[in-house]
């Protein structure tokens, strides 16, 4: 967690290591680390994402205990974070191909996150992928690292984690806690099951287009409007009760930022 924050103090809602997390444009994989204010069931969590030009697909989030141990995997509410519904096949492919290249961030951090998502040991040591064949049995987390009541949504595997089993190893850059690989598989299965029914079968995302690498919009990963459309009215109160109308900002460039504190 210290690595993820880059030595900076933990502040709620702040994204680490930076506002963009760590993004590998080659594989269009991203992760970022943050904590919610007032959350007492964990210290913080990693979000893992496949970020495509036309869509975002959150994979699993890795919940971290205050001791620095991973304690659970959970999925996010697609409705809340704006992901498109995906087919199970797409999600499995996204997970299988999630990879942050060495050099995109602190090596131990990258080595920690990559296998948590892919269900593979660091270094691709011949594991068959997230189909479960390589998943070992559950193991115990470190003392006090187990999830607490009221925690985030957990997989069946994380509940099993609290009941016992061989101890997990600390992810020190070379080791691989088996429980997280088991959790990765369980979460993947859960995720696939969740999205299987309502999947709308959108097309496979486009890859990055090298010819547009210099394009400012593309470089910033911002979708550019294809037609002129007036911004809908925003006429709301601010925290002091003053009325603020977007039209007051005419003549300025505005970043309208919709957010919530959850």
């Amino acid at each position: 967690m210290e690595l993820a924050r880059g030595g900076r103090p933990q502040e709620p809602w702040t994204l680490y290591p930076g506002e963009y997390g760590i993004f590998d444009r080659r594989t269009r994989s991203q992760f970022y680390f943050h904590a919610h204010a007032g959350a007492d069931h964990e210290a913080a969590h990693f979000h893992t994402v496949r970020l495509f030009p036309d869509r975002t697909a959150h994979l699993v989030a890795i919940s971290m205990a205050p001791t620095g141990w991973p304690q659970a995997l959970f999925t996010v509410n697609g409705w809340a974070i704006g992901d498109a519904w995906e087919t199970s096949a797409n999600l499995k492919r996204y997970v299988r191909r999630f990879s942050i290249g060495v050099g995109r961030g602190p090596a131990p951090l990258v080595r920690f996150v990559n296998p948590r998502v892919r269900g593979l040991p660091p270094g691709d040591r011949g594991a068959p992928g997230p189909q479960g064949k390589d998943v070992e049995g559950p193991c115990r987390g470190s003392p006090g690292s187990g999830p607490t009541p009221g925690s985030v949504a957990r997989s069946a595997e994380s509940r099993r984690d609290r009941r016992g089993g061989p101890p997990c190893r600390v992810p020190d850059g070379g080791s691989r806690p088996a429980v997280m690989r088991a959790l990765a598989f369980a979460a993947l299965v859960g995720l696939s099951a969740l999205v299987g029914a309502p999947a709308t079968g959108r097309a496979t995302p486009r890859g990055s287009d090298p010819s547009s690498a210099a394009d400012l919009w593309s470089a910033a990963e911002i979708s550019r409007a294809t037609q002129q459309r007036p911004a809908p009215v925003v006429d709301l109160q601010d925290l002091r009760g003053n009325r603020v109308d977007l039209r007051q900002f005419h003549g300025r460039v505005v970043l309208l930022y919709f957010w919530g504190s959850w």
Binding site: W13, E221, Q228, L239, L246, H250, L255, W259
Partner: protein, 126 residues
């Protein structure tokens, strides 16, 4: 994001935070924690979120000097990194109707003409 507001407000950029339906005390606490200096608006009824078709957070819309939507993004983006700053500074420098240099090639993604501006409900929780 608020740092961008502070850095570019004199150049003609404003960040407006629109909170999605939380109570005033909750938003006040979060605003203090974030140390926002830009305006924070309360979309208590979800009216603005519906008008923009917001389905998740953070959702960001870039509005040009002429009041038209130039682009959008859902999720973390490099707003304060070099690529994000380069785009925003180019937009701030451009005059209305003038194409942004370097931004005329194929976009990263597009807001299609049938982009939903229909009610989908504000984001709740993840």
């Amino acid at each position: 994001m608020d740092g961008l507001h502070q850095a570019l407000v004199r150049e003609g950029l404003s960040v407006i935070f629109v909170n999605l339906g939380e109570s005033r005390p909750t938003v006040a606490r979060a605003t203090a924690a974030h140390r926002f200096t830009a305006p924070v608006l309360l979309d208590t009824t979800g009216r603005a979120a519906r008008a923009y078709g917001v389905t998740g957070t953070p959702s960001v819309f870039i509005i040009g000097r002429d009041g038209t939507i130039l682009g959008s993004a859902v999720g973390p983006r490099p707003w304060t990194e070099a690529s994000g700053r380069a785009l925003l500074e180019a937009l701030v420098r451009a005059r209305p109707g003038e194409p942004v240099r370097g931004a005329g090639a194929a976009p990263a993604g597009t807001l299609t003409p049938d982009m939903p501006l229909t009610p989908t409900g504000p984001a709740r929780s993840h």
